[in-house]
Assembly symmetry: C2
Homo-oligomer: 173 residues x 2
């Protein structure tokens, strides 16, 4: 019941394939993070700040491709739980310098293994080298500013994506 369907024009739409692939990972991510009272966005932000202490909110938000305005409630939720602290920057008193507290670090440490395990399980259909290739191609895709849509009136990219260092040797194919 229910033969296979054809994608037709959708085959050539990367947005479609990316969403199809993201959906199950997002579900797995959400369930794994929920065990630690964290939304995916909250775990992501906490982990990013842990690895990059002392950054401004807007730097962090841009790196994650999240609007600054949407970043505020994420930070607030984490701060109110004592998982991170904000300090007015001395150099620029408009901005905050953010760090993860010991409690926050402990939570990231505790949550990371099961979250990665769930991700690995979902990705297990791909071999190790296929996973490496996929990561490499995805990173290449989203780290390039040309990927971003253009504002029709100004011709500017809608928001700049800060380049982010990948620890691995991604581009030595």
């Amino acid at each position: 019941m229910g033969d296979q369907l054809k994608f037709g024009a959708l085959n050539n739409l990367f947005g479609f394939h990316l969403r199809q692939a993201y959906t199950p990972f997002g579900q797995a991510y959400r369930e794994a993070a929920a065990n630690f009272e964290l939304k995916p966005s909250q775990y992501t932000v906490l982990a990013l700040i842990k690895h990059n202490p002392g950054r401004r909110q807007s730097e962090l938000a841009e790196a994650l491709n999240i609007e600054r305005s949407n970043f505020v409630p994420i930070i607030e939720a984490l701060e109110s739980r004592g998982l991170l602290i904000r300090e007015k920057s001395r150099e620029d008193r408009r901005s905050y310098s953010i760090e993860v507290t010991p409690k926050g670090k402990a939570l990231v440490t505790k949550a990371t293994a099961p979250i990665l395990a769930e991700s690995d399980r979902a990705a297990a259909v791909l071999s190790g080298s296929e996973q490496e290739t996929l990561r490499k191609l995805l990173y290449k895709l989203y780290s390039d500013k040309k990927t971003r849509p253009v504002n029709a009136s100004t011709g500017e990219r809608l928001s700049e994506l800060r380049y982010i260092v990948i620890e691995y040797n991604y581009f030595t194919t």
Copy 2:
């Protein structure tokens, strides 16, 4: 001012990379579809039905990884604009058989080229063979049922993803 950031543990989270890559494509998709008064989900559904006439809603929803309940308003919006028609199935009077109207077909035909052009522009940082590899890996990832999360109580996959035929020769690496 804005050195590069490190991803740390996020590097190994496919859900993270997929979301990062999806975000700009989703924006581009949304803007391109909006020129035809269509949300991305609506264009996707319309294109899928055009290529697979006469299917039941639940088949289509499962193929797109959309909950049946969330599929209803998408179908209703398209039907109310005269872009598709539903008919009670004779074999199973619980279900509907769905087809795209001539008006709907014309809209898909008109919208497809600019939507694909926007996708191609966003993907242009990858070479043709890299794009082919990426598509292949993404399809392999989401077409496998093992990718889906498991229901903790029953041990069942949360929802079955119907296998979908890709017209291209994806698996002849």
